[in-house]
């Protein structure tokens, strides 16, 4: 799992212990608005957590699988707020999908992911807007093999992404169909 998200989960647990409640919220299988821009309609229950510009949903735990929604990255922002964000690729409005896929790979690299391969980059609508899809394989910093798929697009000058990742062994496939259905359900508000 990503450094930022794992840190968020640790913080969430600590906050939960202190406050007597967790920051997780239940995502019911019904239409839900993301970033006030579009809706998705999950067919199963997920647990959700917000980490800055990312909303993270998981079933079995974010270290095993997660679908993450980037809620509008502004021009000049890096994908993740890491300690080395200054030297990382920044999102630029005119970026072509090939460059956005590079931005995704670079962002993942900034949180410790290694041996990233982006494959099958292709144009695909993000809701009704122009967008792209791609597939990913990578290793976590501890060497665990993971797979992923991403959908994204630039709308109103901001980058929106949906990233589904899971362990190559079992978890990616276990929830891939649900994640795909969520991506297909994207409708602009």
């Amino acid at each position: 799992m990503t450094r930022g998200i794992r840190a968020a989960f640790v913080l969430a647990v600590l906050a939960g212990l202190l406050a007597g409640c967790a920051r997780y919220t239940l995502v019911e299988p019904k239409a839900r608005t993301i970033a006030d821009l579009y809706t998705v309609e999950p067919q199963t229950r997920w647990s959700a957590l917000t980490d800055g510009k990312w909303e993270v949903w998981t079933v079995d735990g974010a270290g095993l699988e997660a679908i993450q929604f980037l809620k509008g990255l502004e021009d000049g922002e890096p994908l993740f707020r890491t300690s080395d964000a200054q030297k990382r690729m920044k999102f630029r409005k005119p970026m072509a999908p090939s460059e956005l896929a590079e931005l995704l790979a670079d962002g993942l690299s900034s949180i410790g992911v290694q041996n990233i391969a982006v494959t099958n980059l292709r144009p695909q609508k993000f809701g009704s807007a122009d967008g792209f899809r791609c597939d990913l394989t990578f290793l976590t910093k501890n060497g665990l093999e993971k797979q992923g798929m991403a959908a994204g697009g630039t709308m109103n000058g901001r980058l929106y992404l949906v990233l589904y990742t899971g362990t190559k062994l079992h978890y990616y496939e276990a929830h891939r169909a649900h994640a795909e259905q969520i991506i297909q359900s994207i409708r602009m508000k």
Binding site: K87, A96, S98, D106, Q114, R122, G143
Partner: protein, 391 residues
């Protein structure tokens, strides 16, 4: 002289001439013998046990390079140097873009791909492997372990070792640096390993003048880099003027033009070239552009006719994207294409830059060339979409 005898003689010579710790002095350790394992009730056995756990994690790590050719190549160099100690050493090639090689007391040697990318030739690789063998043969880890144990909190040391073991040894860089600081050898140990490494490479017939060049190249990169990502090897192997001067002096005394020395450049290129595009992509992901620029300049100077290297220079400029970089990137891509041997991605990268600049005709031509050279490219449908936009 060759085979086991030669290595034992090397050790014997150092035992009486070059050791920082006199053999037989109180607390001094004898050299490790072939197939030797520590007795079970010793502290050294405890250290080995920890390292065996580390090795278990390493063995199943997804970071290991699986390319058989390069692993066999490195193993052959290692065995040429280690002679009858060869069966005691397990060599792991780890895909990580930092320059590093390390040797654990139980015989685990790691070579990181950042080293493969940076060595100029086989002689330089042999010197680094020989240096690490020197630590193993002289049991420097055990010396260091005993030294640290008397000075610091033993529990803390074991905690770091165990944490490293739990994370397959190649977990986070922070863990590695922490481990390195504990397992860091003394300057005397380093000096001794340098001399053993030098002697081993010489006995294997490698050009002795190559040893000091390893440190000189690294030092240039270190000076250029921002050091935000530490070159881990520096933490434990500072490229000081002293060690460079010492190795140069040793080479001056050793090198004779009448002997048939080899730098093994061609064998090195044959083994490493198939991996080089992957290694350079990994290197660029570190985004330490100043350091990578020094590295690429050195590689290009050695192979000015490599379209692949000019392409990666272009990639550096494109990704850095400072003022004037897009134009520099395009120049590099054009040079790569003119030189020959450039990967198909050169045309795609040029097409993206030209599309951004609004040069539709040139962008279209570049994308067309890309699809001609790579008709089954993973991103071909995306490129077709760009071509549609450019109509």
């Amino acid at each position: 002289m060759n085979g086991p005898a030669s290595l034992l003689v090397v050790l014997a010579v150092f035992a009486v001439t070059a050791c920082a710790t006199p053999r037989g002095a109180p607390g001094a350790l004898s050299d490790v013998r072939p197939a030797q394992r520590p007795t079970l009730d010793s502290d050294e056995a405890g250290l080995w046990m920890q390292m065996d756990r580390v090795e278990q994690g390493l063995r199943t790590s997804g970071h290991l390079v699986t390319d058989t050719a390069v692993r066999t190549y490195l193993r052959d160099i290692l065995c040429k140097l280690a002679t009858d100690y060869c069966p005691d050493i397990r060599l792991y090639v780890v895909q990580t873009p930092h320059f590093n090689a390390s040797m654990a007391p139980n015989g685990v040697m790691q070579v990181w791909t950042g080293l493969l990318l940076r060595a100029d030739n086989e002689a330089q690789l042999a010197y680094v492997l020989g240096h690490e063998l020197g630590h193993y043969l002289r049991r420097h880890s055990v010396q260091r372990w005993r030294d640290v144990r008397t000075k610091t909190n033993v529990t803390a040391v074991f905690t770091v070792l165990t944490a490293a073991a739990g994370h397959g040894y190649i977990g986070s860089l922070a863990q590695l640096v922490a481990l390195g600081s504990i397992m860091q050898f003394s300057r005397d140990n380093e000096r001794e390993a340098d001399e053993i490494g030098f002697e081993l490479m010489v006995r294997a017939g490698y050009d002795p003048r190559e040893a000091s060049k390893v440190w000189e190249s690294l030092d240039k990169e270190r000076r250029a880099g921002k050091d935000s990502d530490p070159l881990i090897f520096f933490a434990t192997h500072p490229p000081t003027d002293e060690r460079i001067d010492t190795l140069k002096e040793l080479a001056r005394k050793t090198y004779t033009p009448d002997r048939d020395w080899t730098d093994g450049r061609q064998a090195y290129l044959k083994a490493v070239r198939p991996l080089r595009a992957t290694l350079l992509r990994d290197e660029l992901r570190l985004r330490d552009f100043a350091r990578t620029q020094v590295l690429l300049a050195r590689l290009v100077a050695a192979e000015p006719a490599s379209g692949q290297l000019h392409f990666f220079q272009g990639e550096l400029y494109r990704l850095r994207n400072d003022d004037g970089d897009p134009a520099r990137a395009l120049e590099s891509y054009e040079r790569a294409l003119a030189t020959g041997g450039a990967p198909p991605e050169t045309n795609r990268a040029a097409g993206l830059l030209l599309m951004r600049r609004g040069e539709k005709d040139r962008a279209r031509a570049a994308f067309d060339r890309y699809l001609t050279e790579a008709p089954d490219a993973e991103d071909k449908s995306m490129i077709h979409a760009y071509l549609e936009q450019l109509r």
